[in-house]
Homo-oligomer: 221 residues x 2
Amino acid sequence: MIKMSHAQRLRDLLEDAIVEGRFPPGTKLDPEALGREYQCSRTPIREALQQLAASGMVKVVPKRGTFVTQLGISELVERFEVMAELEAMCGRLAARRITSQELSELKTAHAACRERLEADDANGYYYENGCFHHCLYRASHNAFLTEEATRLHAILKPYRRLQLHVRHRMHSSFVEHEAIVAAIETGDAAAAEQALKDHVHIQGERFTDLVANIERLHESA
Amino acid sequence: MIKMSHAQRLRDLLEDAIVEGRFPPGTKLDPEALGREYQCSRTPIREALQQLAASGMVKVVPKRGTFVTQLGISELVERFEVMAELEAMCGRLAARRITSQELSELKTAHAACRERLEADDANGYYYENGCFHHCLYRASHNAFLTEEATRLHAILKPYRRLQLHVRHRMHSSFVEHEAIVAAIETGDAAAAEQALKDHVHIQGERFTDLVANIERLHESA
DNA sequence: TCCCGTCTTGTTGTATACAACAGATAGGCG
DNA sequence: CGCCTATCTGTTGTATACAACAAGACGGGA
């Protein structure tokens, strides 16, 4: 492993922890505690937190502390709207630009999804689904777009996790993926764009339904 | 003016300076010099620079220094591709969601553009053009999209400045704006989307032509 | 003359100490 | 008994000092 600064390593570690749900949205990130855990002073921790704040993973409330970003329904809807557009764009570009190697990678990821689906392994499907989408981003051959899509994907991941076990979601997701792969393979940019837009929009609607339910629970509690 | 931390104020100041071209792309930002200029130590400056780095305005080269981001042709093309998509999305949403007040603001901005065009005032047109686009972003009624579009717009601004005086660009830009306003006013989402996509793509092509010429000059120099 | 090794210098990255501010709490006054 | 105020505490924001590293310069050897 290459040498990198404490701040950089810490940033990656915290980002991972947040994305993977080990720090649920709303959690307060205490610099002092983190300092003890990672054996360093507040300075690099502060830097890491600020970098995360800049990418929208955490929110710094002046004089109050730093908290893992907790998105309300409308904020979630907004982000899914943009995510749908970015993914659709990736699909449109990928349909025209994908290389044969990238196409085979995409198909491999898709096959892995099928395997997890048939094994009824939601966590595994979730992981392979992430790979599938990243293949798509890269196939757009637009590094900036790939970065932005990846960043937004990461921000939304903790919420996506919530709907892992929704009934039949895995199966419908897989069917949607089939359409996406088919459109890209035939080079049909418009179809790929539409298929991805629908795919993400459906996720967005499901998520917001779910979040709405959760928030109702919180309110009544 | 409300009280904010040195780092925040510094961030805004530097961002402005970069966007407005007072620090051209490639400029080295020396923490020590900035410290003298703004009467503060390296710590808040470091923070400001890191926040700018996170939004892509500057690039930190480890052990070498911090430099204002200098985009090559391909990087520029990539960003304009994404910018076109985001603006097109703003237009599509705005066509459906714009309020009458926002529409009148947009028309006011458009009228200001016409004034500057008739006065042959390129700098003024440039400024009003920015207002026009920001009106559009806000009219999308998607705060996240507005933020992202604004950020990307700012990153591209130093390059946009380069083509201020291209012959007839102001006039064609204005004509394109007319189509955009018309589409939004009639609520034609598809037309607004297409008009904006074209508008930005044209800019992107012109810019990259220009940058290509500039880089050729640099090479031969 | 050219190349390699060492040293110097300037930079960034980190730790620690300090100051300033906001919120909470307790005490006094009406 | 309630409200206002003053202090107090815990936090963040900033300054400074130090350490580590890397690029460049210089000198010695081949």
